[in-house]
């Protein structure tokens, strides 16, 4: 109602003649906060805060849950922050609340949320499809580009994992004709839990002796699968690839249980979102090929056909050679 409108007005006013940047409040909302992934993102955000001197912080929910995340954002809207940068648990579920945010004049930047509509911009280290394809390339290389494989996700209800997996499968169909997806169990769950990933992989490998590869998505998948491969005495015969942070996976990479893991640095992704928000708050124009002054995000290009989704070049492949060189 009226309340909001006046609020929006004062905000736009403030924006045009702004000087006092210290009054800005920029919040990064991750999926959750225990996952080392977002702990790493927080490191990036904190560093950015120090360097820029602005009021930027990360605030997560106590558990990974789409509803909690939406409520957190609603609370942030109510407390009148200036920009919200979000890594959605489930993009679809955030549309209404992000719509409210934008109506309240808040800048909304997303990451891993290319499908979102109610945002200013989305920054992808690269697209979900491309990311899935990338993991698939790693898996294919490890499998010698042939044999039966399947995909593993945290939960079948997890949005990005399933998009990556879909992307991977599509990529395989187009590029690796000698590989086939396991028809009977095309997608299994790890429940975002290394132990479940391990048990599930064991079962798969027992039941389907033809299975030669498992594509992981959650950062718990590949390590768990690797443990199973190793224990069943299948090292070298069955391969896995997936997402994972270097430090957590150094040992399995070195032992050869996993050939390669893919990721982008979440710290940099956090910084990129913050940088984009600052740029917008300062009223700078956002164009194709824009430079956020963050490594991997120096030349952001619009995803073909979109004027909201930017894609960067932030991915990294880690393998046994380079795993110790990242420092996280």
């Amino acid at each position: 109602g009226a309340e909001e409108e006046t609020k929006t007005e004062t905000k736009t006013e403030a924006k045009t003649e702004t000087v006092d940047e210290s009054e800005w409040e920029i919040v990064i909302v991750p999926k959750d906060a225990t996952n080392p992934w977002f702990v790493r993102m927080n490191e990036g955000v904190e560093e950015y805060k120090k360097v820029s001197g602005l009021n930027i912080y990360q605030k997560g929910t106590p558990e990974i849950d789409a509803t909690l995340q939406s409520q957190l954002i609603a609370d942030l809207i109510a407390s009148g922050v200036d920009a919200i940068c979000v890594v959605p648990v489930d993009p679809a579920s955030l549309e209404p609340v992000l719509k409210q945010a934008r109506e309240a004049g808040i800048i909304v930047i997303a990451h891993e949320g290319a499908s979102l509509e109610n945002i200013d911009y989305d920054i992808e280290a690269f697209s979900n499809d491309a990311y899935g394809a990338f993991i698939m390339d790693n898996l294919a290389a490890a499998m010698g580009e042939e044999g039966v494989y399947t995909t593993m996700v945290g939960h079948v209800t997890n949005a990005s994992h399933n998009e990556w997996a879909d992307g991977g499968v599509a990529h395989q169909k187009a590029n690796y004709p000698n590989m086939t997806l396991l028809e009977a169990e095309p997608r299994v769950e790890s429940e975002d839990n290394g132990d479940v990933a391990y048990q599930t992989a064991k079962e798969l490998l027992k039941k389907y002796s033809e299975l030669k590869g498992i594509m992981g998505t959650s950062s718990y998948d590949s390590p768990g699968v690797a443990r199973a491969i190793e224990e069943l005495g299948l090292t070298g015969k069955v391969a896995t690839a997936g997402t994972g942070l270097p430090a957590a996976n150094a040992e399995i990479l070195k032992s050869g249980a996993v050939n390669a893991l893919t990721l982008w640095d979440p710290a940099l992704a956090g910084q990129a979102m913050a940088a984009m928000a600052v740029k917008m708050l300062r009223g700078e124009e956002i164009t194709d090929n824009c430079d956020l002054n963050v490594e991997g995000y120096r030349n952001l290009t619009f995803k073909p056909g979109s004027d909201k989704v930017f894609e960067g070049q932030g991915w990294i492949v880690i393998n046994k050679e380079n795993v110790d060189s990242f420092g996280f």
Partner: protein
């Protein structure tokens, strides 16, 4: 009139130590927020936001409350809510065109469908508990898995999105631009349940069956019917929660709101409902819902405090209240 109300309030405070404590707790928190985050907490929009947030889990808590008064528990509420939301979403997509025609008919239909789903799910729980005699904690844990399982099978685990925005707009809108519709649904259900519990024979039978089911049977109460009815109301309440979730997130998925189960049990227990049955008031539960919401929203406004402290505070408050009750009750006995 006013004196009558204050009189009433003062008797409530005297009579119900739980409620007094919850009010005290809420006041302390409100004062705390006043001191440290006045300008962020005490705004109309903040209260509107909070009022739009708690209805979804508040409705689920109502269900658990009724079952607990009966001496049982309903752990399936989140499963029922998601299931109802998913079926509601499918219905909505079927009826409403992309440009939003037929919305006027669709909304009531979605609500009817959701409520039917909730009632049926509740009937299954009631059947398993009253006729098969499965302990409620296990029966509803099983049906939680079952309903969630069916929801996953229906959706292949994906979110149902692309739902016509009209539904979400209608439910997340505000009456007179002020009062969130979600809150109205919550209040309506609160009124219905309060009415059922305090003004009808069902309510009396509910409490008495919860106190001593054998004596209830010997008094001619149809306990099987009461149990089934109660779990059905719980299911309906949960399904309304699910429909509000559908509106709030404009999508439905089998995995939403998994944290609500434990949270609702906490709310209900803190609201003064005794898990062994026969005791407790809806007003306590409503207060507990408010307290939790204010705590969560308040903490979200203080970046320095991690939201991980919420479970710590919440669990601590629960234990502290129980210990305080021990002391007050013992003092009474010693006189």
């Amino acid at each position: 009139m006013l004196s009558k109300i204050t009189n009433r309030i003062s008797t409530v405070i005297k009579n119900d130590i739980y409620i007094t404590r919850l009010i005290a707790l809420m006041l302390i928190w409100l004062v705390f927020m006043g001191f440290f985050r006045f300008e962020k907490f005490y705004t109309v929009i903040n209260f509107q936001t909070m009022a739009a947030q708690f209805p979804e889990f508040g409705l689920m808590a109502f269900g658990i409350m009724l079952c607990m008064i009966l001496g049982g528990i309903d752990l399936s509420v989140v499963g029922v809510a998601n299931f109802a939301a998913i079926v509601g979403a499918i219905t909505l997509k079927k009826i409403v065109g992309v440009d939003g025609e037929m919305l006027g008919i669709a909304i009531p239909i979605v609500f009817i469908v959701g409520i039917i789903i909730g009632a049926m799910a509740g009937a299954v729980n009631g059947f398993l508990i009253s006729i098969i005699n499965i302990p409620p904690i296990l029966a509803t844990l099983g049906t939680f898995e079952l309903f969630t399982g069916i929801a996953i099978v229906l959706t292949k685990g994906k979110a149902i999105s692309g739902i016509p925005f009209g539904f979400s707009e209608a439910i997340t809108g505000r009456l007179f631009g002020l009062i969130p519709i979600q809150l109205l649904i919550f209040l309506a259900m609160a009124l219905v349940i309060t009415f059922l519990v305090t003004k009808t024979t069902y309510g009396k039978k509910l409490y008495l069956t919860g106190t001593n089911i054998t004596a209830a049977k010997f008094s001619g109460v149809k306990t099987t019917k009461i149990i089934i009815k109660t779990y059905m109301i719980s299911g309906i309440s949960a399904s309304l929660g699910g429909l509000i979730m559908l509106a709030n997130y404009n999508s439905a998925r089998a995995g939403y709101g998994t944290v609500y189960t434990l949270q609702c049990v906490l709310i209900v227990v803190l609201g003064g409902i005794n898990p062994s049955g026969g005791k407790g008031k809806i007003s306590g539960v409503i207060l507990a819902i408010f307290v939790l919401q204010m705590l969560a929203s308040g903490l979200n406004k203080i970046p320095e405090i991690s939201s991980f402290y919420i479970p710590l505070i919440w669990g601590g408050v629960l234990v502290a209240v129980m210990v305080m009750n021990y002391f007050t009750e013992n003092k009474k006995i010693k006189l």
